[in-house]
């Protein structure tokens, strides 16, 4: 094989000019939504409404409509919460960590991934509130001064969650918004509609593409990226503490923080690939979101999938090594007990199928990767299901064991969260540039001076 590793494949394919890039990205916002858009929106909207209706029932009658029972206090809502927080990891990872690591290929997908992060965290944020018995009192979880002298319990991981998730959401949102400012300005300059112009003007905060602006912007972006990076690691670490800090066998595990973070990146990337495959097709962005980008993400999926697989194995090893019988029982029970079906779905989707990404052909073929990333999404949802439910359903006293079965309300609310997520994604594709125009221009061919005088060497 005679491959020249000294040359990088171009980040933007197809030798697009800067104007073409701008044109391409701005097209969805300049054109009226077509039929396909409305079909997509009505599907996701219907899911959202189903979720809302089931949620309304749950508020009216109580959490008893769900399958939760006496040993299994946490079920679908918490599974969904962890799942969505996990999805929300890819965005910040791509935009912040890869930015700091100077990974130029991130530019094509960063904006979209960040938006997905924000939407996923919004979906996630709903669940801890609605899963409580009295959601109208959820404000008690915030430390606020009151004449009762009541304070929150800082030893409870649920309070840590409140801070971790809200900080993560705020920082991700600010980071995303700051990145959007130059694009808002571009859109403002392009549009002739008076209303749009007003809106874009407001959000672009008076951006004039001046040198000073760019200098400040680059600094701010760099700082925010630095600020967001530890959050990528902290959020899921703290979410994992919900389990790890308890004394329940199967939850009380020190491996959880890294294992959860790896799992979150794994599922986040899988979700980004799932959505991007459609977006690049529908909005003709194949040159900007190239197959190279997808392949790189698939490589990360393969790597994190193996980390997750290692964690699964290590849990078993530690259970055996610890010599704690109830700990050993939990893991044997996971694999061979009443929830074995869920466990093996998890293992096969998360560990076995991603191994196919060792084949370059599969990594670079859209239908193949589509199947695998969807399986990864399913597998990661089941991972949270297995952790949350198998541990509580059979814990210390055999007398209190109980099998958990979800009800139609559990499933409805889960569908509703997907409805909310995709509704937001669909609205986003039509209202904001799904790819950062300014950043893509910066990495386009010939945009930067090189030692080769800007010549292309492919």
């Amino acid at each position: 094989m005679n491959i020249d590793y000294s040359q990088q494949a171009p980040v933007v394919a197809g030798r697009l000019t800067l104007a073409q890039i701008e044109e391409l990205v701005a097209k969805p916002m300049d054109t009226k939504p077509n039929k396909k858009f409305f079909i997509a929106l009505s599907i996701s909207g219907s899911l959202l409404i189903i979720g809302a209706v089931f949620l309304a029932f749950s508020f009216y009658y109580g959490t008893g409509l769900w399958g939760n029972n006496q040993p299994v206090g946490w079920a679908f809502p918490i599974v969904n919460f962890v799942f969505w927080v996990g999805i929300g990891h890819a965005g910040t990872l791509i935009s912040a960590i890869l930015f700091l690591l100077r990974q130029k290929w991130r530019t094509g997908i960063a904006r979209f991934a960040e938006a997905m992060t924000i939407f996923a965290v919004m979906c996630a944020g709903i669940f801890p509130v609605i899963h409580t018995g009295r959601p109208w009192l959820a404000g008690y979880l915030m430390p606020y001064p009151n004449q009762h002298g009541l304070w929150v319990n800082f030893t409870s991981p649920l309070v840590w969650d409140v801070f971790a998730v809200s900080t993560y959401f705020t920082v991700s949102f600010v980071f995303w918004y700051v990145g959007l400012i130059p694009d808002f300005a571009t859109m403002r300059d392009r549009t002739s509609s008076k209303i749009k112009k007003t809106i874009y003007s407001v959000f672009s905060l008076g951006w004039r593409h001046s040198n000073r602006h760019w200098t400040h912007y680059e600094k701010a972006y760099m700082l925010l990226a630095g600020f967001a990076t530890p959050l990528v690691l902290s959020v899921h670490t703290i979410v994992s503490f919900d389990f790890a800090v308890s004394i329940l066998p199967g939850w009380h595990t020190t491996i959880f923080p890294p294992y959860f973070v790896a799992g979150a990146i794994f599922s986040g990337f899988a979700m980004v690939v799932t959505v991007l495959v459609f977006v690049r097709k529908i909005f003709d962005l194949e040159h900007i979101i190239t197959i190279d980008h997808l392949e790189k993400m698939n490589k990360i999926i393969l790597a994190t999938g193996m980390m997750v697989g290692y964690a699964y194995a290590m849990e078993f090893f530690i259970a055996w090594y610890s010599g704690v019988p109830s700990e050993q029982f939990v893991f044997i029970n996971r694999a061979f007990g009443p929830y074995a079906w869920a466990y093996w779905i998890m293992v096969s989707c998360n560990v076995i199928f991603p191994q196919l990404f060792w084949f370059k052909k599969i990594r670079r073929t859209v239908p193949f990767m589509m199947v695998i990333v969807i399986l990864v999404n399913v597998g990661m949802w089941f991972e949270r299901f297995v952790i949350t439910i198998t541990s509580t359903s059979r814990d210390f006293l055999p007398s209190s064991w109980g099998y958990y079965k979800p009800t139609i309300f559990d499933i409805g609310i889960l569908l509703g969260s997907f409805g909310l997520f995709f509704t937001l994604v669909i609205l986003f594709t039509k209202s904001l540039p799904v790819v950062s125009i300014s950043e893509i221009k910066a990495v386009a061919d010939g945009a930067q001076p090189t030692i080769h005088g800007g010549e292309h060497h492919a």
């Binding site: 409580t132 018995g133 210390f396």
Partner: protein, 1030 residues
């Protein structure tokens, strides 16, 4: 003084008339401004007078005030003010009532024929809790689950509120006067036609007298009495053996060896409270005396759960077993007895029924070496010849020493024989019965269908039912007369030689009901206006004055005696029990029955622990109390062995059809470990119709299988055919059922040290056998919180706990626990704060059973506390794990992190959720303990160690200026425990009785290795097995 006055002329003027009060020096010194200001209430400018002519010049301040006031008035006048009902304070303090302080009244429980003495706790005039009367010699301050749950019967919203008359298919409310007139007319014109009174057992001498009076007034009256479960066979056998008397009471506490044959004396046979107490006295870790209990029965019962050795045997083989035992004992030379036992051999019997020979040998040895200190007790459902054989064997072994001199009297009216009831029905069918009065009985449900009672009723001129609530019988009556509840009634009860217990009402009738005796008295008087509220009360007093008081030789006059007796609730008469008995020489000939081999399926109808024969099936608390053995709630089922399951090709929840003669019943199968093969055990009291919201349609009516004729006993039928229907029916259980042969789950309770057990012999050899398993002091990441003052703790003696569940019922009543219904039990959302865990070990056919009451352990390092985000659960300085309901958001994290899973979550507003908000009825809210919050939806709750009782005791101690002691408080579960297994008190009080149990060498904590320092000590169960097995 005069100088001072002369300086102040104005003051000196008035000084003679009024004293001088001054508010400021200015006033004292007569500042004219101040004097002027005294005449105006408000300072100038602070207000202005309302003058319509001057309105235009109204101040800005005034204008705003008027504006605000009118807005406020308009606003409040238009709000939809919700009338919360009339709240009337006690303007005049009622006698006896201090607001916030409970009163206790002694009375008698009439929930079953045992008629225990009770203390009824009332608050502001409402009965809210029942405890046993400590002065009562039988139940000694304890009361069973039914007695506890009886409070729900009082407030049951579906109690009949007015007399009903059936016209066509409907019942209409009518006045008492109309009823009395119609019934009186029918009674008067009955002539020679019979007036039949159908009742259950009558334990009250005065009620019996009312019925006697009724018979005098209406001479054609006949009284028929039945009890669905009764000792008639047992007593008849006793009569045949000894020519006199009844089966006496047993000194369970003195027996070294107890052999129970199909007898559930710790469950439903006899007075379980007394039996449990006496039995538990014989299993005491302090005195280190232990009886040995052998059980030979067809299915697991509470008694079987507590057996040291248990063998399963179908009931028809019991006779052969006793004869073989007799043969073995006499061949060993244990006694000389003229019973011909040839043809019986114990070893042959053992191999025939596949019984453990070793256990039988030990049994023979125990009976032979403990002559006079052993007792053999046969269950009431066994055939007469078994009882006769047992009587003879007990006599031969000298075990009559174990019988008490006093005996139980459960009725003044002997149960009617089958022939008597048949003749009644014949007369009814031939139109010779003018009136049938159902005196608080339900024969339509209880009598075997082949009597044809239901059809015969339609041929009776007038059917009158006296009942608290609708049932199958009231449905077929012309008149349904609502009667007073236990707690609204006067009465007396004699259940023991020399003991009469008194019943007094603690609340005026809630509805337009009458005491059942007063209804008869009105008819005896022959006038509708003869009734008044005190009719029966006066009758009762007169009867006592005339027939009971004179015999007592009391030094008090009757009035004082009467009030004293009411206060005590109990009167001891110096009745001397009959002692002598001698064996009827002809008895042995009754036993000359050839041994026959029994084959085929047999059905056993057994009394349900909670709802009995159906008398409590409308009571949600009792329906939801899990079965002590199977842990199934809200249903009955066909309990069969694993082998029979396989033979029939069925598994749990499969519906089978059982056919006996022409009678059929379909019900689901439940594989009950320890059941004898080919035996189907079905419990009674279910499958009710026309009996109210709670009872209707729950379970399956086992009475459909009954027949008036039987070849064994009224409750056991052989020759049963069984077929699979192919349907399934879900049974709700409070505990998961695990396969016995699953290596993953087998014996987890032992390997995890949840249940720690030893043997008596092992303990005597090594008293530290439990202690040495302790892990020692573990290191904690938290600094231990010092508890130097009073700190609450509990100990539960598993040697004494029989697992009956009375404590669960007591906790339900004390702590306002809602009923959740079968659908919620199916998804494990029971709300009981205290549960009885039941674990099996060993084989599925011969399981060894361990029971363990499980409640909040109030851990020092409670794992629930540090995960609650809002500190809704926290620790008190006296060591209680507390729940702050108002603060609880309902994250359920505490429940997840609780290793004992004793926390209960209100997934719904269960009072609203159950049976279309049946429990939301305002009447039921009267039942609630006002000291315990009724929890709302979305809130976590759990055992509080009865914190309301602690608070009350602390308030009393403070008031009396003494320090609170651990012994000042008892918990509701402790109060109800018949065998005194539960102790509660101050962990740090070294002087207390509790300290001994808390620090007992057999004590252990469940899940000690978690190092969370629980405050409930379990005292390990010792099994009294043979020393060689230890």
């Amino acid at each position: 003084m005069s100088d001072f006055n002369s300086d102040n002329p104005q003051l000196s003027q008035n000084s003679e008339l009024q004293p001088n009060y001054w508010r400021s020096f200015e006033e004292l010194h007569n500042d004219p401004n101040v004097l002027e200001a005294r005449h105006h209430e408000f300072k100038d400018g602070a207000t202005d007078d309302f003058d319509p002519l001057n309105l235009s010049s109204i101040s800005r301040r005034k204008f705003l005030a008027l504006l605000g006031a009118s807005a406020a008035l308009a606003g409040t006048a238009c709000t939809d003010y919700r009338d919360k009902g009339e709240i009337v304070p006690y303007n005049i303090k009622p006698e006896e009532i201090t607001v916030g302080k409970p009163n206790y009244y002694a009375s008698t429980c009439t929930a079953c024929a045992n008629s225990c003495g009770i203390l009824i706790k009332t608050r502001e005039g409402r009965p809210i809790k029942v405890d046993g009367n400590p002065d009562h010699p039988v139940n000694k301050g304890k009361i069973c689950a039914k007695g506890q749950a009886n409070i729900l019967n009082l407030y049951d919203p579906e109690r009949l509120k007015k007399p009903l008359k059936k016209t066509g298919l409907n019942f209409n409310e009518v006045s008492w006067k109309e009823v009395d007139n119609d019934v009186l007319a029918a009674l008067t014109f009955a002539g020679s036609k019979e007036i039949a009174i159908v009742c259950n057992s009558i334990t009250s001498p005065t009620t019996f007298k009312v019925i006697e009076d009724f018979k005098i007034k209406f001479p054609s009256t006949k009284v028929y009495s039945y009890n669905f479960f009764n000792d008639s066979v047992k007593n008849a056998a006793w009569q045949k053996t000894f020519d006199s008397g009844k089966y006496p009471l047993v000194k369970w506490n003195e027996a070294n060896v107890i052999l129970s044959l199909e007898s559930d004396f710790l469950g439903v046979d006899g007075n379980k409270l007394e039996n449990s107490r006496l039995f538990a006295e014989g299993r005491d870790v302090d005195t280190k005396t232990f009886n040995r209990l052998y059980c030979v029965d067809s299915t697991l019962t509470i008694t079987g759960n507590n057996a040291d050795y248990r063998l399963r045997l179908r009931p028809e083989a019991q006779f052969e077993f006793v004869m073989s035992l007799m043969n073995e004992l006499s061949s060993k030379g244990a006694f000389n007895f003229s019973v011909n036992t040839s043809g019986y051999s114990l070893s042959g019997f053992a191999s025939k029924y596949n019984l453990k020979k070793k256990v039988l040998d030990q049994l023979v040895n125990d009976l032979a070496t403990n002559k006079g200190k052993a007792i053999i007790d046969a269950g009431r459902s066994l055939a007469e010849n078994v009882h006769i054989a047992v009587n003879l064997l007990n006599e031969a072994l000298g075990n009559s020493e174990m019988f008490r001199n006093d005996s139980a009297v459960n009725t003044f009216v002997e149960n009617s024989s089958v022939q008597e009831i048949e003749s009644l029905i014949q007369k009814m069918n031939s139109g010779n019965v003018a009136v049938v009065i159902h005196f608080d009985s339900n024969p339509v449900y209880h009598l075997a269908s082949d009597f044809g009672y239901k059809d015969a009723l339609s041929k009776v001129g007038l059917v009158v039912s006296l009942s608290e609530r609708e049932n199958e019988t009231t449905h077929l009556s012309k008149y349904v007369l609502p009667i007073n509840h236990n707690f609204e009634s006067w009465g007396d009860a004699k259940t023991r030689t020399g003991v009469i217990s008194l019943q007094q009402p603690v609340i005026a009738p809630l509805n337009d009901t009458r005491q059942k005796e007063a209804i008869l008295l009105t008819w005896i008087a022959g006038k509708t206006d003869a009734f008044n509220e005190t009719l029966y009360h006066e009758y009762l007093m007169k009867n006592w004055e005339a027939s009971i008081y004179p015999k007592l030789n009391s030094k008090l006059d009757f009035k004082r005696f009467w009030f004293g007796a009411l206060h005590d609730g109990i009167v001891l008469t110096n009745e001397s029990p009959s002692v002598s008995r001698s064996i009827n020489p002809g008895t042995t000939s009754l036993l000359s029955q050839p041994s026959s081999s029994v084959k085929g399926y047999t059905v056993v109808i057994k009394e349900n622990y909670n709802i009995s024969d159906g008398s409590f099936s409308h009571n949600g608390w009792m329906q939801e109390l899990p079965h002590p053995v199977s842990k199934i709630a809200w249903d009955n089922y066909a309990a069969v062995s694993e082998k029979t399951c396989k033979d029939l090709g069925v598994k749990n929840n499969d519906v089978i059809e059982i056919k006996v003669g022409g009678r059929k019943l379909s019900l689901p199968v439940f594989m009950q470990a320890g059941t004898a093969d080919e035996v189907i055990v079905i419990e009674s009291g279910f499958g009710r119709t026309n009996s109210g919201t709670v009872a209707n349609g729950v379970g399956f009516n086992s009475n459909l299988l009954l027949s008036k004729t039987n070849n064994y006993s009224p409750w056991i039928y052989s020759g049963v055919s069984i077929s699979k229907t192919g349907d399934t029916y879900k049974l709700a259980s409070s505990q998961e059922h695990h396969a016995f042969d699953d290596a993953k789950t087998q014996d987890l309770h032992k390997t995890r040290h949840i249940i720690q057990e030893g043997t008596v012999a092992g303990y005597l050899k090594n008293p530290d056998l439990i202690k040495e398993k302790h892990e020692g002091e573990l290191i904690s990441v938290y600094d231990p919180q010092p508890y130097n003052g009073l700190k609450w703790g509990m100990s539960i003696d598993l040697n004494k706990c029989t697992g009956c569940g009375d404590c669960v019922a007591a906790c339900n009543v004390e702590n306002n626990i809602p009923v959740v219904g079968k659908d919620q039990v199916l998804v494990s959302r029971e709300m009981q704060w205290l549960r009885i865990d039941r674990y099996y070990s060993g084989t599925v056919d011969e399981p060894s059973v361990s029971v363990q009451p499980m409640l909040c352990q109030h851990c020092d390092q409670a794992p629930c506390e540090n995960v609650c985000p809002v500190v809704a659960t926290n620790h008190s300085p006296d060591g209680l794990n507390q729940m702050v309901y108002n603060r609880c958001v309902g994250t359920r994290y505490c429940s997840n992190n609780c290793p004992y899973k004793v926390r209960r979550f209100n997934f719904f507003n269960f009072r609203d959720h159950f049976r279309d908000s049946y429990q939301e009825n305002p009447l039921l809210s009267l039942m609630h303990n006002p000291e315990v919050t009724v929890r709302s939806r979305g809130v976590m709750e759990k055992c509080t160690f009865c914190v309301q009782r602690i608070a009350e005791a602390r308030a009393d101690a403070t008031y009396e200026k003494r320090t609170l002691k651990g012994s000042d408080v008892t918990t509701a579960c402790q109060d109800s425990c018949g065998s005194n297994a539960i102790h509660f008190g101050d962990i740090n009080d070294k002087e207390s009785e509790f300290y001994k149990y808390r620090n007992h060498e057999l004590g252990y904590y469940v899940l000690e290795e978690l190092n969370i320092h629980p405050n409930v000590t379990y005292i390990a169960k010792l099994r009294n097995t043979y020393p060689e097995e230890a």
